[in-house]
Each structure stands twice: as C-alpha cells, then as structure tokens.
C-alpha cells in the first residue's frame, strides 16, 4: 500500500487526468476549471454591474460541484494519503531556489516563504500572491481557458486555438521565471 502515500509518478497522474476528462465527457460535460471563477463572480452579484457576468449560473452548478470535490480531494490527500510533504525536485532546481532565497525548496510541498500562514504578515508576499492570482484570472478568461480547458481538453481535440494558448502559457511562464524572478527575488 506504499504507493498510496508516495507521490504519484507522471505515468499514473497523466492517464488519471485523461480519465477525468473522459468521465466528464461521458456525463455530457467538458473539462475546464477556470470558468468556475466567472461563475463565482456571478454568484457574488457582479452580473448587476458587468454584462459579461450576467448569465444563469445554475447551468454551471455541476462545475462548482467539481470544484468543491477538488477542495475535498485536496483535504483527503493532504491528511490521509501522504506521509512526507516534501516535493523531491531536481537538486539543481533546489540550488537555484536557495540562491533566490527559497530555503524551503526540496523540504516542503509549497514554499513556506510564500504560503506559510505568516505570509499574511509580509506585504511583499501578499503582493506576489495577489498579482499572480490577478494575472491567472485575467489571462485565463482572456484566453478562454486554462491548463485543463486548453492544454488538456482543447489540445486533445486538436484545436489550433488551444495550441496557440498553450504556447502563450509557456512564453509567459518562461519570461516570469527566467527574466522577472531575478528582479523580484
């Protein structure tokens, strides 16, 4: 039973994601997580001010249930399906991150410098998380999907728009880590 508490290798995780996409198709739905952000804005009443959010959110209830499930899944795995939270990244990556000031690299699931509860007390950390979230939310709606909607669902259907979006994801990610990280960390 050791494999349950060990991190899943890519050849278990990848097929599992494809299986999840398949299950959603088989219940007449499409795999895509980011549209939930829009639905949540609608529920908060943004539709009264901005037309983009004026739609019947109940049609998206199924997807909110998937999100709720994801929260529960995160709870279950972190409490019962894992013994060692350390993510065994490449030692070269650990060295890079140490040099940038991330001393938790290789010993934690998320950098404690950014995600420990004490991060709430550091204005720079709050700004990093806030700007990161803002870019994710803006970008994903502008691009019409995120990693699940484009990189998995869209590309599986060989859609050119998704291919362009995924190239964009990588350009953005590479620019952030190779050019912007050295400036902010």
């Amino acid at each position: 039973m050791n494999w349950i508490v060990e991190p899943w290798p890519w050849y278990v995780s990848g097929p599992m994601i494809a299986f999840i996409m398949f299950l959603l198709l088989m219940v007449d739905k499409n795999f895509g997580m980011s549209s939930n952000l829009r639905t949540m804005c609608t529920i908060c009443g943004v539709g009264n001010k901005v037309a983009f959010f004026k739609f019947d959110w109940k049609s998206q209830k199924w997807n909110l249930l998937v999100v709720l499930g994801a929260v529960i899944g995160g709870f279950i795995s972190s409490h019962y399906l894992i013994t060692d939270m350390a993510v065994a990244i490449n030692p070269d990556t650990v060295a890079d991150l140490n040099a940038l000031g991330f001393n938790s690299a290789g010993t934690a699931y998320l950098p404690t410098e950014l995600f420990d509860t004490s991060a709430f007390l550091n204005i720079k950390n709050i700004l990093i998380l806030a700007i990161g979230g803002l870019l994710v939310g803006f970008g994903t709606r502008y691009a019409g999907g995120c990693t699940s909607g484009h990189a998995i669902s869209g590309l599986s259907d060989l859609q050119l728009p998704s291919f362009i979006a995924v190239i964009g994801f990588f350009i953005g990610g590479l620019v952030m880590i190779h050019f912007i990280f050295p400036l902010i960390f």
Binding site: W10, A18, K29, F52, G133, L135, G137, I152, G168, M176
Partner: protein, 137 residues
Amino acid sequence: MRTLIYLCIGILFGITMFKSEAASWFRIYEMFKFESFHMYGIIGSALLIGIIVVQLIKRFNIKSFYGEKIHFSPKNKSFSRYMFGGIIFGLGWALAGACPGPMFALIGAGFLPIVIVVLFAMLGTILYGVMRDRLPH
C-alpha cells in the same frame, strides 16, 4: 445522483492534482526551468491518451452514459486573444505556482494564503469582464 457523480469526479481530480504534485509551486518552477520531465510527462501522457479518447469517441460515435451524442465545441478562430491571454496566464501561473484547478485542491489541503490567489483570480476575471470590449480578440 448527478450531484454525487460531479462531486466524486472533483474529488478524484483534487486527489490527482495533489498527489501528482502538479499543485506544487516547486514543480511548476522546475518545469519552466526544464530541469525535470515530471510535469511534461503528466501533461504529455494526459494529452496523448486524451487525443486517442477523443478520436475514438468521434470515429465510433460513442454516446455518453446518458445516451447523448458527445459534443465538442470548436473554439472561435483567433490569434490575439489566445496568445495575449495565454502569455498573461503563463506569467501568473509561474508566479503563483497554481492554475485554476490546483488552487482549489490547495485550499482543501489547508494552505491559507492560496485564498489570496483565488480571490485575486476572481478579481482578474472581473477586470477582464470590464475591459473585454476594449481588448483585441
């Protein structure tokens, strides 16, 4: 019944995101550094199987569990919205180390500061909704 199905699919998804470490900020950083095959293996194998599954569904006209025709909606043809939107998303993905699926699994795992990421992702979505007509699509 359907409620339970969606919830269970979500639970499976959350567990997969957490256990695959795709929800780890470190794995995203490592991926953009090209220092591990892990994330490429996950996305690549999911995609390879996904392509085969979609092709099989289309070729053999496989019906859903409820007997409906499985519908794939083609995305609108455009370049700028996908490229610009994609780049903006990528910048945020690398900075926050979480995309819209994993960020919810991380809430469940009890990493409280991720709530800031989710709230601002909602704000970013609102910002897009406000600026939509002025952006090239």
